[in-house]
């Protein structure tokens, strides 16, 4: 993983502690491999996030 899936910045750029906290209550928005914005669908009991280059991750 290279990028923060919450803010999209490089993981080496800052601590991303607030991002980690935010991801408890939010799905990821950026692909951790390429930082593309992902297509995210939130369901009542879960979520899916799809990167056009790196596929789908889900809860």
């Amino acid at each position: 993983m290279t990028f923060c899936s919450h803010c999209g910045r490089e993981l080496t750029d800052g601590s991303h502690e607030s991002c980690r906290q935010a991801l408890v209550m939010e799905p990821p928005r950026y692909c951790a491999e390429c930082r593309r914005r992902m297509v995210v669908q939130v369901h009542p009991m879960g979520w899916t996030a799809r990167c056009s280059a790196h596929g789908t991750v889900q809860s």
Binding site: V24, V40, P44
Partner: protein, 331 residues
Amino acid sequence: MGDIVDVAREQVLERGVGLSQEQLVEVLQTTDDRLPELLALAHEVRVKWCGEEIEVEGIISLKTGGCPEDCHFCSQSGQFTSPVRAVWLNIPELVQAAQETAATGATEFCIVAAVRGPDARLMSQVKAGIEAINAAVEINIACSLGMLTQEQVDELKAMGVHRYNHNLESARSYFPDVVTTHSFEERWETCLMVRESGMELCCGGLVGMGESLEQRAELAAQLAELEPHEVPLNFLNPRPGTPFGDMEVMDGKDALRTIAAFRLAMPRTVLRYAGGRELTLGDLGTRDGLLGGINAVIVGNYLTTLGRPATADLDLLAELKMPVKELQKTL
């Protein structure tokens, strides 16, 4: 003029008459040391005029993002630099979501779209979705599709939609600070049409968006004037990239005072915890609100953010000995 809690006890609890806007300002100005007393009264009012049951609902976004409107709190506006991308949900996933929601014991399933108002494509997708859900699972279907024409109101009614959500969002006097692409009056008009149609009206708003206490009371009074069947109460969850993205999270005690005030404004309505409660109130505050006027919850996730696990809320309701409303019953 007597003490506002004593006045509310006689007026709302005993007679079932909601507080006026001026009285609600007094409620919102009560001091922290009187908050437990205020919440206890709001709970008594809820139990007396609504009963013991809690209504459980799940929500799903049918069309996410790319909205032309500029509601300053919303990450789904296409006008902001929010990371939320546009996506449509397919029918099988919609049905699966309804089934998962029903499995929690929920009686309500709300289909939501981020639009100004529905076009023919969206209405067609909603119709197909409702038919597929009805064929698969027993649950009441609600919709939230923005501003409607009379023809669309009639179509949704004919589809079997039993409740329609359209929030006022904020008080009339603060609305221009929240939305500029449409007016408070346009929202009001849709609410009136829905109510007149016989569908149940679900109409609430958000607090913690920089409005004054007076404007918070104004929102409650304007909602009371509409007499909605349900009032979803949202607390601002500041979303990155939106104009309200840098706002502070609302103080928990203010949020609880607001819950009590809304209950005392509308003793008979279904007052639902909606978005932002996890951030604003946390677990302890969630419990306090359920014992302070709330009688409905959204379980599971929201439209673009996540909620507490459904089991956490259901366990809490069981612990508080609050029965969940069953299907086919009206609160």
